[in-house]
């Protein structure tokens, strides 16, 4: 706060100031979270709300621990689906973008369908997929449909953002198509691809959950979303919250991992990953 009155004279002076701000940025959300959880527990206790209407956080944690064997199994199932959908989306998105980049004809023919897949709500496609595909495949396809588009469009943007002079340089030295792709286009597109993957990570979790809920109402499955649906039918509200908590945590971890990978890959050269002092 003192920096508002007296601007730092040098970068060195700004160092501890920035460190303090960083601590505040980590501490504040934690304080808010703790306050929220405490208020929740307080409201439930003071009003004597029964757990089948609104369980307090302590009850939710209790369920999380007592039902851990079943919930952890479901978590693994959902994570596996998410991972498979994500890998399919990453490979599919990048591969399609590369194909489109090599052939305009292919791009003109197929790109509208990629858009259609993206804009049609996956929750509406999932029941159809479950009819035509084996359940496990259908769930992965759902995750793929939701997640591949940001990878495709970001990679396409990246491949088209190659420095014009560098492209001229490659042409001057007689680079082949493959060399231009491997040494120029892919590295140029890398920051964009990683940005797309970061979005795709969260989306593939959403795709997996949507498909599980659609499949769950058809009577099978064992993922976290299925647990939520099943507990809903049984009015086991604490378990619904516990499963939701796990899903949320999974999403945060996936995003954090992808952001970390992106930072590690780009830290030596890309603006987005450089320290602000440069």
């Amino acid at each position: 706060m003192s920096s508002l009155q007296t601007p730092p004279l040098s970068a060195r002076q700004a160092g501890p100031e920035r460190g303090g701000q960083r601590l505040v940025r980590i501490l504040l959300p934690i304080v808010v979270l703790a306050a929220g959880v405490a208020a929740w527990e307080l409201v439930v206790r003071l009003n004597d709300i029964p757990p089948y209407v609104l369980p307090g956080p302590i009850a939710v944690f209790g369920t999380l621990i007592s039902d851990w064997p079943a919930l952890s199994q479901s978590l693994l199932t959902t994570l596996q689906t998410t991972l498979e959908g994500f890998v399919a989306a990453a490979i599919g998105g990048v591969a399609l973008a590369l194909l489109f980049n090599q052939s305009k004809w292919l791009e003109y023919s197929l790109f509208p369908y990629a858009v259609i897949l993206q804009v049609t709500p996956v929750i509406a496609i999932a029941p159809l997929l479950l009819i035509y595909l084996p359940q496990q495949t259908a769930v992965i396809v759902c995750a793929w449909i939701v997640a591949f588009f940001p990878v495709l469009s970001n990679t396409t943007l990246g491949l088209n953002s190659v420095d014009r002079n560098l492209a001229g340089l490659f042409q001057l030295y007689g680079a082949s198509r493959m060399q231009t792709l491997a040494y120029l286009k892919l590295p140029s597109a890398l920051p964009f691809i990683l940005g797309g993957l970061r979005i795709a990570g969260g989306l593939s979790l959403i795709g997996a959950v949507v498909a599980e809920i659609a499949a769950g109402s058809a009577g099978a499955g064992s993922g976290l979303a299925y647990r939520i649906a099943e507990s809903g039918y049984r009015l086991d509200i604490p378990k619904m919250f516990a499963a939701l908590l796990l899903l949320s945590a999974a999403g945060i971890v996936i995003y954090g991992l992808l952001a970390l990978i992106s930072h590690l890959v780009l830290q030596r050269w890309h603006e987005s990953a450089l320290g602000k002092e440069n």
Binding site: N165, L166, G168, L169, F170, L172, Y173, P187, W269, L274
Partner: protein
């Protein structure tokens, strides 16, 4: 590469580059260049000087084979025996044009890598090129860690690594501060004296063109044509004493006078 019909081998053994009635009309219908005739002898240092948009860079790109002329012929002396990874032309762009994702060493190695040169030989030539521009100890740095002048040196090393006969430079020092530019001018002259390359240097600075070249060719714009040619007969090697001499000032005045018509009719000049 350029349209094969427009490419003819230069038969006069002493010529490095020969343009004959070269014109360039862009798809938009804008006549950018010509007709131009130009002969550059082997080992000569020639500057193309003119206002922005006069087609200097277009001419340079045509010589490099980046794009074909609309009419006329571009002749470039080729080596009789091409060794692996050797390329007859080195090109230095206005910006350093480095790959930010890899080290200085890998940037300089690029032309050899694209030509599938053997690793051992490539390493040797990369070291040599980096030493020539005085960057030997920065080979593992990334481009963003270097100053503007050092990035330009990397760009120059990359152009030299194939040991080209002809060095094409497109306003390479235009974005640098004056002190850095003077130093790079001196280093470029030293390299040219030692390596005896043919250099075609595009610039819009009268002082730079006079300081560096044996011949200054002044261009007019729309479409780009050669309007004057001035020989700079100064004692070699040139250095700071030439930059401060009366001869230098005289040449600069002469070139400026020749350049003035190119700017007439242009608003704000």
């Amino acid at each position: 590469m350029a349209n094969p019909a427009a490419l003819t081998e230069v038969d006069a053994a002493s010529l490095a580059v020969s343009l004959r009635a070269v014109t360039k009309v862009y798809d938009s219908g804008v006549a950018a260049l010509g007709p131009l005739d130009l002969d550059v002898r082997k080992g000569e240092f020639v500057s193309l000087l003119g206002p922005s948009g006069c087609g200097k860079s277009t001419a340079l790109r045509l010589i490099a084979g980046l794009g074909a002329p609309t009419s006329g012929s571009v002749g470039v002396a080729r080596r009789s025996a091409e060794m692996r990874g050797a390329h007859g032309i080195g090109f230095v762009f206005q910006e350093p044009t480095l790959m930010p994702w890899t080290s200085v060493r890998e940037n300089v190695r690029l032309p050899l890598k694209l030509a599938h040169a053997p690793t051992g030989e490539a390493n040797m030539r990369v070291d040599q090129a980096l030493a020539q521009v005085g960057l030997a100890e920065f080979s593992d740095a990334y481009p963003r860690e270097l100053s503007g002048g050092m990035k330009m040196r990397v760009s120059l090393a990359r152009a030299l690594v194939t040991d080209p006969d002809i060095l094409l430079m497109d306003e390479p020092f235009a974005a640098l501060d004056e002190i850095t530019r003077f130093r790079l001018n001196n280093d470029l002259l030293a390299l040219w004296r030692n390596l005896r390359k043919t250099v075609i240097f595009v610039t819009h600075s009268v002082f730079e063109s006079v300081y560096l070249s044996q011949r200054v060719i002044v261009m007019t714009s729309r479409p780009g044509r050669f309007s004057a040619e001035i020989r700079i007969d100064a004692a070699e090697p040139r250095g700071e004493e030439f930059r401060t001499s009366a001869d230098y000032a005289g040449y600069c005045r002469e070139v400026s006078t020749a350049l003035a018509p190119s700017y007439s009719g242009q608003p704000g000049s």
